[in-house]
């Protein structure tokens, strides 16, 4: 209350002028607004419209109400895709989060060559996904791939990587982790850089060791940033497409067919636009739910 009052008295002369100007800023927003409407809002509305139709490319379209949504409930392939997506997402959030926080702690220390090391570390997330997916595909080759050579030369059994339904999703998670741990690291590193130093000095004086300092000082302070990174990671993992599409293309069989891959097949292989649109709507709701769930954790932790 105190702060709002003092701000109000200080800006006594301003409100009239401010309000005047705020209206005048709309021409700045209009061109972008038109584009956003055309390429973002229109597709949303049109998707809702298509999802209640039986709509095949080259065929007639008929209004069928919520039939597409009902069909989804009975569609086992869709159900499995949802479960697979959640499995892939859970792993692709947890692993990059753990590694990313650890990496942020390391890169927060000052050492010669830090800039170069950090740049090399973020290369995987900047590189063209298709290009690195192709290199991983070659490395996963069961007979000629370099990864199985490395495994066997260390005395470990070779893996089938993406060529077996049991190992394909963990393998894809490995690529996803390799690619997106840097983003988690950057966000948490930004958080670490903004922390006050006093609690550390107090902890050192109290004789805390490095692990205790991390667990009881760093982690609670940087937690909001970790949650932001987790939300972003969760959204991106749900939407993962390029690497899965190139490396396994949903296979073997349908063992790595996530929602996004199924969506692609329905829309652009089977040209079943109505059903695909209904999947988009459900997919979007799923993303919103996961986002809200993660934000809920953030809020709860902030309160406690």
């Amino acid at each position: 209350m105190g702060t709002t009052l003092s701000a109000g008295t200080r800006a006594v002369a301003k409100p009239a002028r401010r309000r005047n100007y705020a209206r005048q800023y709309w021409p700045f927003i209009v061109p972008a607004g038109v584009v956003v409407f055309a390429v973002i809002l229109f597709p949303w509305l049109f998707t809702l419209f298509m999802s209640v139709h039986d709509w095949h490319i080259g065929g007639d379209r008929t209004f069928i109400g919520l039939h597409n949504y009902g069909r989804m409930l009975a569609d086992e392939r869709f159900g499995w895709a949802v479960l697979r997506t959640l499995y892939f997402t859970a792993l692709s959030v947890v692993l990059p989060m753990v590694l990313g926080v650890a990496a942020a702690v390391v890169f927060h220390r000052n050492f010669p060559g830090r800039g170069l090391a950090r740049t090399l570390f973020i290369m995987p997330m900047m590189a063209t996904p298709v290009a690195i997916a192709l290199v991983w595909t070659m490395m996963f080759h069961p007979q000629l791939g370099v990864l199985n050579y490395l495994l066997t030369s260390m005395g470990l059994p070779p893996s089938a990587w993406v060529y077996e339904s049991g190992t394909v999703i963990p393998t894809l998670v490995m690529v996803e982790t390799w690619q997106w741990t840097p983003l988690v690291m950057l966000i948490v590193l930004g958080g670490l850089a903004s922390l006050p130093t006093d609690p550390y000095e107090a902890a050192v004086l109290d004789g805390a060791n490095l692990w205790q300092i991390f667990r009881h000082v760093t982690l609670p302070l940087v937690w909001p940033f970790i949650m932001v990174a987790a939300v972003i990671r969760g959204i991106d993992a749900l939407k993962a497409f390029d690497t899965i599409f190139v490396i396994s293309n949903g296979g073997p069989g349908t063992a790595s067919e996530t929602l996004n891959i199924l969506l692609y097949l329905q829309a652009f292989s089977f040209y079943d636009m109505g059903y695909a649109s209904a999947i988009v709507v459900v997919f979007f709701i799923l993303i919103l739910l996961v986002t809200m769930l993660l934000l809920h954790f953030r809020q709860r932790d902030a309160l406690s």
Binding site: I29, V130, M139
Partner: protein
């Protein structure tokens, strides 16, 4: 770190120095463990692209090309319209980024000044929507407008990625600028457009650089829009490289060479502009598609 005020463990200077040396070594070991997976994959890509087909399919693998050959790169250009695809990628990414800057920078300014949080929220929702969901309606729209088969649909869809990146970063930058300078300009009789063009925009140049680089990179890397919309003549580089794998050839050398050439501009940009890129990514957590 090294200025521990009270040493409780009564350690001798030698012991303390030992501990510091081990700490340093531990730190460097950690850095090596973190950086090497990234480095090794790129080095392996380079190695594959410089070896002959015999060496690439040898087991145990040949790690260092002996001698390195550029034949794979030559083959990529000989067997494919690689120049055409490069040109397509350049046209798409440059016009996608340019158009986004043209409309996104003023929009970011307007949203920041008018405190239009709802508009900012819309940008955020655009960020969480999967790229494919835009494609289904836009695909039908482009068919209806009969502009499929040209680069125009691809440029338009790339706006889905570039506009939110530019607007989001610019909102943050314009909000961070002190308002006093523009207010002074307005009091002196400048129009709002002049205050934006001659006061705010020059100050926000670092933000514009960050937005340009990130929008360009994520547009260049984009695969999903091209794979659906591009015909044989209008493939962008990522789509072309994917098609090289699946339809035209399966030898590893040319494939790795093509992959390397596609991603090299982005890697160089990352090396040269790492400070700007890190700043932009830390601020927005942006990513396209």
């Amino acid at each position: 770190m090294s200025t521990v005020p009270i040493s409780r463990r009564r350690s001798t200077p030698v012991k303390r120095r030992m501990r510091r040396v081990f700490g340093r070594m531990g730190l460097y070991a950690c850095v090596c463990v973190l950086v090497s997976p990234a480095l090794l994959v790129f080095l392996w890509m380079l190695s594959l692209s410089l070896k002959t087909e015999v060496d690439n399919t040898a087991f145990p693998p040949v790690f260092i090309p002996q001698p390195p050959t550029l034949a794979n790169f030559a083959e990529v250009f000989r067997k494919n319209d690689f120049l055409q695809y490069t040109l397509n990628s350049i046209i798409v990414s440059f016009s996608g980024t340019g158009a986004a800057l043209l409309i996104g920078v003023p929009a970011g300014y307007g949203i920041a000044k008018a405190k239009a949080t709802r508009a900012a929220l819309l940008i955020l929702i655009a960020r969480i929507t999967p790229g494919l969901s835009y494609l289904i309606p836009l695909f039908l729209l482009f068919q209806w407008l009969e502009i499929t088969g040209t680069l125009l649909p691809i440029v338009i869809t790339h706006l889905v990625i570039t506009v939110p990146i530019v607007v989001w970063i610019m909102i943050g930058f314009f909000e961070g600028l002190p308002p006093e300078l523009e207010e002074a300009a307005l009091v002196d009789g400048a129009t709002i457009w002049q205050a934006f063009r001659y006061v705010a925009m020059p100050l926000a140049r670092p933000g514009i650089t960050v937005a340009t680089i990130l929008a360009f990179i994520f547009s260049w890397n984009n695969f999903i829009f091209g794979i659906v919309l591009a015909g044989r003549e209008t493939r962008t580089l990522p789509v072309a490289v994917y098609n090289v794998l699946t339809f035209e050839q399966v030898s590893w050398g040319p494939l790795a060479a093509a992959a390397l050439m596609v991603t090299l501009p982005v890697l160089l940009l990352t090396l040269l502009m790492q400070k700007e890129i890190v700043a932009g990514l830390t601020a927005g957590g942006v990513k396209g598609g």
